[in-house]
Structure formats: structure tokens, C-alpha cells
């Protein structure tokens, strides 16, 4: 399945302390012409797989009026009638703007909703704030309630800062009690507009490991059906080890494609689009108003970026013991930390890949009671 990530507006009404988006003050929005061209380029592209996930992202996607999405969903159906691809809509939101009408729209169109929620209020409100500096937890939970009332499954992306590592029990019980179906843990990374991370100090590694181990222990011992992205990734690698190594879709050309509100597009990590990197032409590899997606393969910026990315992937494959669990790492982390894609280890891979893999393997080994 291929991801088409549409940033229909760069604007976000919030001011989270670790936000990487450089243009979140910009209230511009995608025009009808650009939207139609984006959807046409997605469905017409034979190089993309036959199943497409259209991800509405940004910015805060719900900063746009609800009728923008009503029209967008209808337009997608009309255009795809000619191409007959399987597709669905997803959306990543802070949830502060979700009301009953939004929730009904998601239910009607079977939209998969990801909510940005860092855990209980005392953790979440430490970083996820309004522009006036107030916590957003109460507003987010009201949005979550609207989703659950419409039986829309709530998938969460939680940014795990060093502060939150002290509270695995509180995090676990909060997500379970809140009716969340799936959690994905990100860390606050050095990326684009976010120039620092609470993980920069080495003493955070054992604390991160302790958090992961405790969360996994709680999940295992309670039998709760909460899906956790990090654990599923390692379980999957264990169960299919020897058959196929894991792919990292952010370092594969057209593994995903991101579009901004002007119709500019890029492939590889979605975070690259909108960043100011003159060295890489700000990662713009085409515009839907004149270029097909397949044209990236002859685009000079793409060729330069792809050459570097694949060099970095090769270095990972040749030097890293965790290659089979990772597939070469995320280009956006590499360039943000090292200024080039032709490198291997990043803070993100040290934590969210290597440390997680070590912890889950250790947990399984303890359960199986290997000798030695």
C-alpha cells in the first residue's frame, strides 16, 4: 500500500513546543484546481501500488472547513472511477477541533483517524499548547469522545519526551481507559524547526528502555487489546525473520508521496516537504499542475537526493546489526542531524529502533527462559 500525504494547509492553531513545522503560521489552503490535480496524479500513476492510503496531514488538517473534505472525498471518487484503485482516507489531527459533525463525516467515509495525544493531562499539557500557552488536553479529549460516540477507532501518536519516561503505568492506564485502539510512540526529534531533543543526553537511554519494558510488561500481563506500533514492528520481524527483511518506505522512491498546498510534491520522508534546504532545492521534485509523479525519476533534485539516500541505506545494510528490523532508517532524521543522507545512525534509530528491538527481544527471551 502506498501513502499519498496531502498537506492541504500548512497552518496549525496550536504551538506545541517540539513542533518541526516551519510554516505553521501560514493560513494558505489548497485550491480546487490543485486538489483535483493532486488526486488525478495519485490515481493515474501506474508506478504506485493498486492500494492507496490518502493521508490528510499538515499543519492541522481540520483547520480547513468541513466542506473542503466533503468536496475532496467526492472528487476522489469521481476521479478514481476511471482508474479503479483501492483507496481509503486517513487523517492525523490534534483533535481539538473535532465536533459531532466532523466525527460523523469520518464515520460516513470510513476515515482512519490518528490523534496526536501524549497521554494524561499532566504529560500532554507540558508541550501541546495553544498559541496563548494553555494546555490542550481537555479539548483533545472532547474530540476523542466525539470519535468514540460515532464508533470511529482512535489511533494515537504520542510524543514521548524524557519527562514522560517516568510514567509508563500512568500512560498505559490512560490509553486503555480512554478507549484508544492503537498507540505509536514518537520521540521529540531534532528535525527542521525543532532544533533540540530531550533525548540528547545519554542517560535517557536506560530510562527509555525501562519505559518500553514496563509498558510491554503491562500490556502482556493485563491481556488488554491495545495495539502498540513499536512492539508490533519487532514481533513482525521476529515472526517473519529469514523470509524478508523489513522495508522502510521513507527511503524507497515513490514509497510515499507528499503534496503541499501549492501542488509541489516530494517523495521519501513527508517531513522533508516545506523545509528550507537550498542545497536540495527545498526537496521539491515536481508540481502536480505540470508534472506526473513518475516524472520524479528524471528530476535532478530527486536524482541527487535519491543517490545520497541510497548510499546511506547501503551503509546501514553493510554496517548495522539492526538492518533486518529497520531497512535503512528515515532520511529526514539523517539529514536533520548530519546535514546529509549518506550516513547511518541517528538519535531516532538509536532510540525507536535499536533500543526498542533490544528491549522486546530481551522480554521474549526472559519469557522463553533461554539458558545462556
Amino acid at each position: 500500500m502506498m501513502l499519498a500525504i496531502i498537506q492541504a494547509t500548512p497552518f496549525c492553531p496550536l504551538a506545541c513546543s517540539y513542533c518541526y513545522l516551519p510554516s505553521r503560521d501560514n493560513r494558505a489552503q489548497m485550491s480546487e484546481d490543485v486538489l483535483t490535480a493532486v488526486l488525478t496524479r495519485i490515481f493515474e500513476c501506474e508506478e504506485l501500488s493498486d492500494e492507496v492510503s490518502i493521508v490528510w496531514h499538515a499543519g492541522e488538517p481540520l483547520a480547513l472547513p468541513i466542506d473542503f473534505y466533503e468536496r475532496a472525498f467526492a472528487t476522489a471518487e469521481v476521479i478514481n472511477a476511471r482508474y479503479r484503485k483501492k483507496f481509503h482516507h486517513s487523517l492525523q489531527t490534534s483533535a481539538v477541533l473535532i465536533n459531532d459533525r466532523w466525527a460523523r463525516l469520518f464515520k460516513t467515509h470510513d476515515v482512519r483517524v490518528g490523534v496526536s495525544l501524549d497521554g494524561p493531562q499532566f504529560i500532554h499539557d507540558k508541550h501541546r499548547k495553544t498559541r496563548a500557552g494553555k494546555g490542550t488536553h481537555q479539548h483533545v479529549m472532547r474530540g476523542v469522545d466525539h470519535l468514540l460516540a460515532q464508533e470511529v477507532p482512535v489511533h494515537v501518536i504520542a510524543v514521548l519526551t524524557a519527562f514522560a519516561l517516568e510514567y509508563p503505568d500512568e500512560m498505559f492506564h490512560f490509553f486503555v481507559d480512554s478507549g484508544v485502539s492503537r498507540v505509536a510512540f514518537n520521540i521529540d526529534e531534532i528535525e527542521s524547526a525543532n532544533k533540540s531533543s530531550s533525548y540528547s543526553n545519554n542517560d535517557v537511554v536506560p530510562r527509555y528502555k525501562a519505559f518500553i519494558k514496563r509498558f510491554l510488561t503491562l500490556l502482556s500481563s493485563t491481556g488488554v487489546r491495545l495495539s502498540v506500533r513499536e512492539f508490533e514492528g519487532v514481533f513482525s520481524s521476529i515472526l517473519y525473520s529469514g523470509q524478508d527483511q523489513k522495508k522502510c518506505f521513507t527511503n524507497i522512491p515513490l514509497g510515499n508521496v507528499s503534496f503541499d498546498h501549492l501542488g509541489n510534491f516530494t517523495t521519501f520522508s513527508p517531513e522533508l516537504l516545506g523545509q528550507q534546504y537550498p542545497k536540495y532545492d527545498n526537496f521539491v521534485m515536481g508540481n502536480v499542475l505540470r508534472d506526473s509523479l513518475a516524472s520524479v525519476f528524471t528530476n535532478e533534485t530527486f536524482i541527487r537526493v535519491n543517490t545520497e539516500i541510497q548510499a546511506g541505506v547501503r551503509m546501514c545494510r553493510e554496517s548495522c546489526d539492526y538492518w533486518d528490523f529497520c531497512g535503512g532508517g528515515h532520511p529526514s532524521n539523517k539529514v536533520a542531524e548530519h546535514g546529509t543522507f549518506a550516513v547511518t545512525e541517528t538519535l531516532n534509530c538509536r532510540m525507536t529502533c535499536k533500543t526498542v528491538v533490544d528491549t522486546v527481544l530481551e522480554f521474549c527471551e526472559e519469557q522463553i527462559r533461554f539458558n545462556g
Binding site: 500500500m1 492525523q92 514481533f235 515472526l239 517473519y240 524478508d244 523489513k246 533486518d324 528490523f325 533461554f370
Partner: protein
């Protein structure tokens, strides 16, 4: 279940080796209660757990860190 390997080798095994050793134990003990329950629960979510190409699947929360 106790799977005996030479002492001190665990520390020398690569993550891939450790992963394969766990998988071997699962194959060996699939019908018993001796494999990690949480892994068994995960196995149960796939119709053909050991014959499934996991690499061709991604969801929107799978890409990096595009949330913060």
C-alpha cells in the same frame, strides 16, 4: 521451556540471531503455553502467521515522526 545454548553466547548473538532463536522456540512450542503470551496473541492476528510478507504493509502512523 528451556532452550540450552552455550553459556555467554546470548551477549554475542546479533539481534537477527536472537530473533531467529525466538522464532525457533515458537515453532517448537507453538501448541504449548511456553511462548510469550503477547507474541502468541500477535500471531493470532494473522491467518497464516508464519507465511505472511510483512514488508508490504504500512499505515499512516508507520512513517517516521510526522506528528510533532
Amino acid at each position: 521451556m528451556d532452550v540450552t545454548i552455550a553459556p555467554s553466547t546470548t551477549a554475542q548473538l546479533t539481534p537477527k540471531d536472537r530473533s531467529r532463536r525466538i522464532l525457533a522456540a515458537i515453532h517448537e512450542e507453538y501448541e504449548t503455553d511456553n511462548i510469550p503470551k503477547i507474541l502468541l496473541r500477535y500471531v493470532g492476528t494473522f491467518p497464516r502467521p508464519l507465511d505472511h510478507n510483512h514488508s508490504d504493509h504500512q499505515s499512516f502512523s508507520d512513517f517516521s515522526d510526522s506528528d510533532e
